[in-house]
């Protein structure tokens, strides 16, 4: 399998930071806020690889830094230190050393993002079709008919009623909004997709259908995905490998089955025990 993403020693500290930040935070210290300078160590020393077509899970409680990892990789934030390499067909991209325009190109063309809150991923001032058009237009598709066709194709793939494609996503239910968001993320057929708590807040039957859709897309397009969730059911259903995070550190990583059946770290054991 071809490697698609390599993340090494990714760290993000909010605040000015001090030399004692790292040693005074983490699972052992039972906090992510440095008692000496008050900075928050959101993530520290996160490293992992992701291969083509693979789904990697990031799990952990609220504030453990799992969303921060994805935000940094999608250029929503800038990391404090660390490296990430994206192995594209055209060559390797050293993600944090690109200029703003190059980062934007990567974000618009090669990555897709689905946020927990559709308001972050969608523009509610324009139609659902327009949201997809926006991503295509960012990539220099300038043929109206083609954009229209492509938007229809994507929305029908994600099971949004085509008769409603010219309505604002604001008129839709939560589940439908997530479907539009997924269609938008898939518009450029990206090799890498970030899913940040996509099913949180949806009712169970809708959750199940969205998860099915995600699995189907992964099978069809061989898209690599990073799934952020605190829901162990989602982790079990979607992911092959997972990282368990606490206070910004990765405390356990490996095959999802192994982690869920035979957790090694005391925190993971508690997490799994509480859910099952």
């Amino acid at each position: 399998m071809r490697k698609i993403l390599e993340v090494r020693n990714l760290s993000k500290i909010y605040g000015k930071g001090c030399p004692r930040c790292i040693e005074s935070t983490g699972p052992e210290a039972d906090t992510n806020m440095c008692p000496h300078c008050g900075s928050v160590v959101a993530i520290h020393d996160v490293s992992f690889d992701l291969h083509e077509g693979e789904i990697l899970g990031l799990m952990g409680e609220s504030g453990s830094g799992k969303s921060t990892v994805v935000k940094n990789l999608y250029f929503d934030q800038t990391p404090t230190s660390g490296e990430a390499r994206f192995f594209d067909e055209a060559g390797t991209q050293d993600m944090f050393h690109l200029n703003a325009a190059q980062q934007r190109r990567l974000r618009n063309q090669r990555f897709g993002m689905v946020y927990q809150n559709p308001h972050l991923g969608l523009n509610f001032g324009i139609s659902s079709g327009g949201n997809i058009a926006e991503r295509l237009l960012m990539n220099d598709v300038s043929h109206y008919g083609e954009i229209r066709e492509r938007a229809k194709e994507l929305l029908s793939r994600t099971e949004v009623l085509l008769s409603r494609m010219d309505e604002s996503p604001g008129n839709f239910s939560g589940g439908m909004q997530q479907r539009v968001q997924i269609a938008k993320a898939l518009a450029t057929n990206p090799p890498l997709l970030y899913l940040d708590e996509v099913t949180t807040g949806l009712d169970l039957s809708v959750q199940a259908r969205i998860l099915d859709l995600i699995l189907e897309i992964q099978q069809e397009r061989n898209t690599a995905m990073i799934v952020v969730t605190h829901d162990l059911g989602v982790i079990r259903l979607l992911t092959g490998r997972a990282l368990v995070m606490k206070y910004g550190r990765v405390i356990e990583s490996g095959l999802t089955d192994q982690i869920l059946e035979d957790p090694q770290h005391a925190y993971t054991q508690r997490l799994v025990a509480s859910a099952l």
Binding site: A133, E134, R135, L137
Partner: protein
């Protein structure tokens, strides 16, 4: 009468600053150059941006034409012309395009093609085309820098979805020299193609928003559109599909203004009054020669 002001009302330092902004604007076609925009003896929004450019460029040898919506006789044009005549002693003013070296215009580009030695100054209320999609000026600057105009095109997409055509009637976003998209001031669509490869320099001044930008001579100016939904100008066809003609001079190739007659019927007339007059005169000349 000089009224005790410096030539051109502005002091020399202010004029120099405006000229420097103009030079930068010409060097980076379509880029909005910030400048200080002095207080003028009229409200901002009444053409102070265009006026400051005109006053900074005008010299005693210049012949000035001032147009407001195509006409030399409407209030804005008359007042600006009188103000410039008062503060710039020695200059000539005209209503004839062919005689003018400097033309200040509000919302129209003259019908007769401009000449290389002419400079057209347009008054601009809203300089940034991105203001309709992005409220933060900081973000707009980044978007301009990266030529990120996808959201403007989404607006066009939404228009076609809703109305089957692009409904922007004026201020049509136009890409200059393959990079910056400008708001070409509220000129009608009819005038937008005149920006492309224009022989004359076209300057844009926004007084209230404190920006100057330019379309230098022979620069590409391309209205935003889709490959399969090309840009269109107004066609002025009546219900029978016949092109309306000017009620005064009979021209069928000009931008027409619509007037309401007293009986409620409509009347169409050239918006460019100078062009209309010249066509009428030329017709009378030919008539006179045929009769003689």
């Amino acid at each position: 009468m000089s009224a005790g002001y410096n030539f051109g009302f502005l002091d020399e330092h202010a004029k120099k600053e405006v000229r420097r902004a103009i030079l930068k604007a010409i060097s980076i076609p379509g880029y909005q150059v910030p400048y200080s925009s002095r207080e003028m003896p009229m409200g901002r929004g009444f053409g102070t941006g265009g006026l400051q450019i005109t006053l900074s460029l005008i010299g005693a040898n210049d012949t000035l034409k001032v147009i407001d919506q195509g006409s030399d006789d409407s209030v804005n044009a008359v007042n600006l012309r009188q103000f410039i005549e008062m503060t710039c002693p020695g200059i000539d003013t005209t209503t004839r395009l062919s005689e003018a070296t400097l033309i200040q215009s509000r919302h129209r580009i003259p019908e007769t093609p401009l000449k290389p030695e002419q400079v057209l100054v347009l008054q601009v209320p809203y300089p940034d085309p991105l203001v309709v999609v992005e409220p933060s000026e900081d973000k707009r600057k980044i978007m301009h820098g990266e030529a990120d105009y996808a959201r403007l095109l989404v607006k066009l997409y939404e228009d076609i979805v809703k109305f089957d055509e692009i409904t922007i009637s004026h201020r049509y976003p136009t890409r200059i020299n393959d990079h910056y998209v400008i708001d070409p001031s509220p000129i009608p669509r009819w005038d937008v193609p005149k920006l492309d490869n224009s022989p004359a320099l076209i300057l844009f001044g926004a007084g209230r928003e404190k920006k100057i930008y330019a379309v230098p001579p022979h620069t590409k100016g391309e209205p935003l559109a889709f490959e399969d939904v090309p840009f269109r100008v107004e066609d002025f066809r009546d219900a029978q599909g016949k092109r309306r003609a000017c009620a005064r001079c009979g021209a069928t190739d000009t931008f027409l203004d619509e007037f309401m007659n007293e009986d409620g019927s409509k009347r169409y007339q050239c918006s460019d009054s100078d062009y209309c007059d010249e066509t009428l005169e030329a017709d009378m000349m030919t008539e006179a020669t045929t009769h003689a």
